[in-house]
Homo-oligomer: 516 residues x 2
Amino acid sequence: MNGAEIIIKTARAAGVEVCFVNAGTTEIPLVAAFDSEPGIRAILGVFEGVCTGAADGYGRMLDKPAMTLLHHGPGFANGIANLHNARRAQTPLLNIIGDHATWHRHADPPLAMDIEALAGSVSGWFKNCNSVEMLSQDVADAIAATMYGRIASLIVPHDLQLSEWKNTKAVSPEFSYDPVDTDTIERAAGFLRSGKKTAVILGGRALRRRGLEVAGRIKAATGCDLFAGSFPGYMERGAGFPDVVRIPYFPEGAIEMLSRYEAVILAGAKEPVTFFGYNGVPSFILAHNQQKVSIGMGKENIVEAMGYLADLLRAPKNMKAMDGIVTKLNRPPLLGGALTPEKACIILAALQPEDAIIVDEGLTSTLSYYPLTAGLPPHSMMTIAGGSIGYGIPCSVGAAIACPDRTVINFQADGSALYTLQGLWTEARESLNVTTLMCSNRSYNILKMELVRAGIKSPGKSMQSLIELDNPTIDWVKIAEGFGVPAVSVNMVEELAREIGKALAEPGPHLIEMMF
Amino acid sequence: MNGAEIIIKTARAAGVEVCFVNAGTTEIPLVAAFDSEPGIRAILGVFEGVCTGAADGYGRMLDKPAMTLLHHGPGFANGIANLHNARRAQTPLLNIIGDHATWHRHADPPLAMDIEALAGSVSGWFKNCNSVEMLSQDVADAIAATMYGRIASLIVPHDLQLSEWKNTKAVSPEFSYDPVDTDTIERAAGFLRSGKKTAVILGGRALRRRGLEVAGRIKAATGCDLFAGSFPGYMERGAGFPDVVRIPYFPEGAIEMLSRYEAVILAGAKEPVTFFGYNGVPSFILAHNQQKVSIGMGKENIVEAMGYLADLLRAPKNMKAMDGIVTKLNRPPLLGGALTPEKACIILAALQPEDAIIVDEGLTSTLSYYPLTAGLPPHSMMTIAGGSIGYGIPCSVGAAIACPDRTVINFQADGSALYTLQGLWTEARESLNVTTLMCSNRSYNILKMELVRAGIKSPGKSMQSLIELDNPTIDWVKIAEGFGVPAVSVNMVEELAREIGKALAEPGPHLIEMMF
């Protein structure tokens, strides 16, 4: 067995089943090692941003370590933007990066660059492997680090991949949560018992099923309100779950919404801040006179912390107490006429199947979608997390690989889609059940909104050319078909409803270009 | 005038005329500033790798500072791979990167990341601006740094862009070459006078017209042979220039070629090394017993250093002495039949117009092209320099913007094209005279060659899936048309010749998919 094989074997033994790959020469031993370990399925992305975004989507869906294999510094660099989103989404994600042989580095060959600096920019854990004896331990340590919702990046020189591995056993990751901090939880309980109007902002695993169940109990016991950050990485949603309100993107709305609360409990969530810094608006949404406490942070288990809190509060466990807390099934009715972004949101809400996975990178086009979804059949939802555009298509790829029996719907802005459109090819190659609803407004519409905020009323000619995508118009049907994804263009609501029905009835990927 | 405006004004005063832009909210004041400074044309790329690659192509063609404007850490990260190529090509290139307002950084908002770490990985000079008073000086310093063939990256927080600039004058870059190191040049002259068989390896500006003219004189005086590295960033080529042999990519060929020389002069070039480290093959191509000297390195002017060398050697200046040194016009004849990569190389060589700009990212498909080009009408040629794939389409964009009256031909591998295919849209928007010859072999063929070297005779099923791009086949005609570029597919030599003729006769971009 060589070094490459023990890397793959260690990952497999730790539960990794899929690796998203864009490899080159220096990773050939690792590429070859997949053939010796059939338990890991290697999936090709034709651009590294597709691989890292797919790993992010996969890790978000399954809440278990996702894996990539990338080529050198430039290959890793191409993956950074989506790793940035994964970092903000707290996705468990392991990158293996091939590098030149240790003895070749001093020659500064053309591809050489400072991979450690790049890896450090997004990784909670990273290491440059320096001995074959440590390879399995390094992989195990990296995987353990991911389990706290971090990115781990391991740089593996080519000669170590080829070196002989003499032990027989793969090292297992050692992972355990820190005990929950009962003092902060007592303080949170104090807020909730005090009669003060209290908001609980949920983040990370608190937005998964078990977290939401406990959040519902806490709400039933105390009447608190439940929130999530503006761009949660992953959440479960729909009838049977308590409604969780997302904090608005623009700070005025966020401040108005949260200023009503005397106390705020941050449950696995960071304190909310404005996305950009606007003159005259504070960076932090909460005021100094609002009481705050964070529970379940760092290496604690947020669900355990919330459970402890619920028990302190003697929160009910019976389903009946949840009656007024969880939402009831409620779909908007279908409608007709010329398509607008708002109508597209309604149509999707009216038609999305139970257990759907919604990947929302619609930005301005999907602003009105989320409030429609509290009463839909239960579903999963993912948003951009780190704000780095180009996550939607890759994330959908990863979600569909993670959950082959579920329907993935990628509600996608056109400008953002252009960053990682190559992911459509992987959708076709792997026959993934992804339907892309492409919002074609042919502009960077979010910049137009920000221009208004910046007080620029009539953009000059040069600025106009930098925010409009209409010359020439991008033909998403041709592009999707070019990658092997069947596609159609619609501009009427009735057409959209019909085409969504057809796409969902037929296996494999589809793209519906919605002309707004 | 605000900070953003003085940045743009300083760049303009220093000679910058074009900026390749993919901007976001934090750069809105800079985007607006282009409308106040019509001397800089802002060109939109719909992915940052297109912007940086285009700036690289622009800078390589004009040998003057190219400029980009990029959004935050993730936007810059998307541009790193092509900046890596630019760094290896010694392209003068200035990046302006917008960041959050200084007062907003402590909130660690979603888009925040370590931009300095990213900038440092490819930049010879970088700075995080920290006062509005220094902005013009910072830009001038950055531009001065680029003039030594480096990348300079300036991070500009949003509040500094908006701050009032109170001076009226833009600072000018201060730039001067170091005096040439006459001791090393004397040593080089000694090699050439000694009667030892001597190779001169040309790099950087030595491969431009003036450098090649001096190289021709040195060759005429001494009988030395002229070489370039495997992947020169930019070179002039064809009838009337001395032939310059590129050092082969695979080390055995490189060693065989260069081991015949007792002495080697590195003229603006790094010592040749193998692209990857192969077991049993040394990293450096030259042996210890071969004498070596480097001239015109660092901040020296290589053309001045070569001129000094030529004068020391009393090299002839008259055209007649060049008669046997420079190549004569010699085109291969057209041929026919089923298309192969080799035949495509011959057809291009037979048809490319005088003064064409050839962007070669054909990798395995264009291996036989370069040896055909010594006697073609004079033309410019660019290669991948840093080995980071996805440079061809963007580099062609930048070259066409730099030289609107010349024909750009992008001889392009399909696997590599997928990394930055969004550049086709900018070709269409700007009506660029770029003809893309897409080599569709539907595989990562270079990996197949490296597999053979690695002794892997029959790749397993998993490996096969990671090196073949044939399921599904990518339809480049549809993709190009989707971006607004007219396209056609050919598989016969006669068709290719006809379609090249049509594409070159018609203004604007074209793509010809060549099915091998």
